[in-house]
Symmetry: C2
Subunit: 369 residues, 2 copies
C-alpha cells in the first residue's frame, strides 16, 4: 500500500473531528431549498418567482477516503436530494459502517433512510453511469484519468473534480519570511490534497536570495525538488524538471521549481500548465497582486496565503462535495449551493403572450417585488 493511500484511508481523530465539525456547521447553514432568488412582477397580476429546488438524485463516486462519505451524505440530505455513494474499494468497510450509522440516524426522522445508498462494485458503478433517466448529477472524485473515464462514459452531467496543479508564484516584491512559510505549508502540510502546490514559480531578481532558505526548509521535510536550468544554477544538487513536471499533479513530496522573468511570465505559465484550481502570489506590491488576481484564470486566486485554504469547509460552506475546476458554474469548492437547482414559477390570471406583441403590444413592468 502506497504512502498516499495509507494516509487517505486512515480516519484519524483530526479527520473525524473535521468531518463532524463540518456536519455541525452544515446544521447551522440555511436550508438551500425553497429560496426565492427572483420575485418579479412581469405585468399587473403576472408574477414570476425563481425558487431553488433539489437536483434529484446524485451519484457520488469517491476515492478511498472514508471521511468523504461522512461529508457527502449530510450535504445530499440537507439539499433534499437522494444520493448513491460509491467509495474506493479499499475504504469499503469504513463506508459500510458510516452509511449504516447514517441510516440509523435517519430512521428516527421524517426522511426515509432509503435516500442514502451505498454501491460496492465496479459493475454497479458502470450501470449507474448509464442511468441518465434516474440520476441528475454524477460527482466523481479521484484521479484525472478516473474523472475523464466518467465524463466519457455517461450522459449525466458531471461535476468534474479534475486534478489540482496548483502554483505558488513568489514575486520580486515578496517578503522572504512569508514566502518560506507559505511555500512549506502549501507543499508539505498535506501533499496528497488537490489544493497542495505542485510548482513553485519565482522571480529571477530575487531567486538567488530566496531559493536557498526555501529549499532548505522543504528538504528538511523530505520534499524532493526538481528545477529548470536556472533553478539548478542556484540549487545544483536537485533533479531536472521537464515539461512533464509542469503538467503533473504529484500528490506527493515532490515540488517542481521554475524561475520566471516577470509577473506576466508567471501568469502565462499558470494559465498554460495549470488546472484552473488554485494559485497564489506572494508579494508586497498590491498592483502586482491585483493583476495576478484578475489575469490568472483559476477558480481560486490568492494573495499572501496558502493554496490549502481552497476547501468548502474552510470557505464556510459546511463540508464540501468536491472542487470543480470547470469554468461554468459551480466553480471551486462546492457545498450545498451546488446541489440545488431552481425553477421558474409564473402565476397569472389568463395572461396570454398575444397581448404583448404586434401593433398595440402591452409593455412588461418587470418590477422586482
Amino acid at each position: 500500500m502506497s504512502r498516499q493511500l495509507y494516509k487517505r484511508l486512515r480516519l484519524d481523530e483530526y479527520k473525524l473531528r473535521d468531518a463532524i465539525t463540518g456536519i455541525r456547521d452544515l446544521h447551522n447553514l440555511a436550508d438551500p431549498v425553497g429560496v426565492v432568488q427572483i420575485h418579479r412582477e412581469i405585468d399587473a397580476g403576472l408574477i414570476m418567482k425563481r425558487i431553488t429546488c433539489p437536483l434529484g438524485v446524485l451519484g457520488v463516486i469517491f476515492e478511498a477516503r472514508p471521511e468523504a462519505a461522512i461529508q457527502i451524505a449530510p450535504l445530499a440530505i440537507k439539499s433534499g436530494n437522494g444520493v448513491i455513494l460509491k467509495s474506493g474499494k479499499e475504504a469499503k468497510h469504513s463506508c459500510e459502517v458510516i452509511v449504516k450509522v447514517i441510516k440509523q440516524g435517519l430512521s428516527n426522522t421524517i426522511v426515509s433512510p432509503d435516500i442514502v445508498q451505498l454501491v460496492k462494485t465496479r459493475e454497479e458503478t458502470l450501470k449507474l453511469l448509464k442511468m441518465d433517466r434516474f440520476l441528475d448529477l454524477i460527482i466523481p472524485r479521484g484521479s484525472k484519468s478516473f474523472v475523464r473515464f466518467v465524463q466519457e462514459n455517461t450522459n449525466i452531467p458531471v461535476l468534474g473534480h479534475a486534478d489540482g496543479i496548483c502554483h505558488l508564484y513568489i514575486d520580486k516584491a515578496a517578503d522572504m519570511e512569508k514566502s518560506v512559510a507559505i511555500t512549506v505549508d502549501a507543499k508539505a502540510q498535506y501533499p496528497a490534497a488537490c489544493n497542495a502546490i505542485e510548482t513553485l514559480l519565482i522571480h529571477s531578481s530575487i531567486a538567488y536570495g530566496f531559493l536557498p532558505p526555501i529549499a532548505a526548509a522543504l528538504q528538511s521535510l523530505n520534499i524532493e525538488l526538481r528545477g529548470d536550468k536556472t533553478t539548478r544554477d542556484i540549487l545544483p544538487n536537485i533533479a531536472v524538471a521537464t515539461d512533464y513536471d509542469w503538467e503533473t499533479e504529484y500528490s506527493d513530496l515532490i515540488l517542481a521549481i521554475k524561475i520566471v522573468d516577470s509577473l506576466e511570465d508567471a501568469i502565462t505559465h499558470i494559465n498554460h500548465y495549470g488546472s484552473k484550481h488554485t494559485d497564489t502570489i506572494i508579494t508586497e506590491d498590491s498592483k502586482a497582486a491585483e493583476i495576478f488576481l484578475a489575469m490568472v484564470d483559476s477558480a481560486g486566486v490568492y494573495h499572501n496565503c496558502s493554496t490549502r485554504f481552497a476547501d468548502g469547509f474552510r470557505y464556510g460552506f459546511g463540508a464540501e462535495v468536491g472542487i470543480s475546476t470547470q469554468k461554468t458554474l459551480p466553480r471551486g469548492p462546492v457545498g450545498l449551493e451546488g446541489l440545488v437547482t431552481y425553477k421558474y414559477t409564473m402565476v397569472g390570471n389568463a395572461h396570454i403572450a398575444l397581448n404583448y406583441t404586434g401593433d398595440n403590444a402591452k409593455s412588461f413592468t418587470h418590477r422586482d417585488l
Copy 2:
C-alpha cells in the same frame, strides 16, 4: 421552403422591434462582471471574495433565425466575452449584414470589433467543436438532433437547448374562458417557438364541456388536432394520437390531446414525456396549482397563463442566449447571468493552513462582510 423556415427567416418589423427593445433593455441592466457575490472574513486578516468574471469565448450556433445574431452579440459584449457566431445557412446573408453593423458600432468604442466573429460553413463549425482549449461554452440552438450532435462531438461545455415539449393541463377546477384563451395562445400565437405547447391534457370530469369550444377555437385557426381514445369519443373527427405524439415537438399547427383522470396523472405524463421546458396548469383550485408547481420537474411551471412567456426578454433578462432544459444551472431562459462565471479571491498576510489543523487548531470566523 417550409412554412416554419419562412417564418423564422423573415425579419419583420415586430421581430426587429423586439430585438432592438431587447438591446435597449440590456443597456439598462447592471454590468454582470465584477459583482461581489460573497465577501467573507475567513479569519482575522484573511478575506475571501467571490467575484463574477466572463466565461471567455462563446461559440453560438443558431438556426436560420437572423434576429438571434442581434440578440446574442450584445449579450456576449456586455458580459465581457468573445463570441463566435454561426447561423443556419439560409440566414447567412442577413447575419453578415448584422455582424458588419455590430463591428462598425464597436469600432467607435474601447471594445475591439474582433471579439465578434461570424463563421459561415459547416466545416468551420466542426473545427470549432474541437477547439476546447480556446472556447469555453458552446450554445447550440436548433433541432433536438442538432443539439445531440453538438453534445456528442465536443468536450466544450454545452448549454443545451433541447426541444420544447410543453404541456397545458386543464384541471377539473379550471375556468372555461381562461382555458380557451390560454390554449389558443400557447398553441397558435407562434407555433414554431419552443415554448408553444405540443400536448393538451384535460381532466376527464370537465372534458365533455370544455373540449368542443377549445377544439372549435383551434380548428378555426387551422390547428390540426390528434387525440387519444377518450378524446376521440368527444371529438370523433380528429386523428389518433399515439406515443409518438406525446414525445414529439411538432413546431407546427398540430396539437395532441389526452384526457387524464387526475392531477397526479397529468403530472406523471408531463414528467415522463415532457422535455423539462415549460408547463402550465389552468385551475381555480390553489391547492392543485401548488402541487403542480412543486411536482412538475420543468424549468418553468406556470399557473393560469400561457407557456409562451418562457423567454429571457419576457422574464426581464434582456435578450436571451437560449433556454436551457438541463437540471443543472443555468436552467430556463438564459440571459447575461448565464454568460459569466465567478472566481474566488483570497487575500491574507502569511496565513497558512497548518494553524487551522491539529491539537491547537485556530477556528475560522466565517463572518460575512
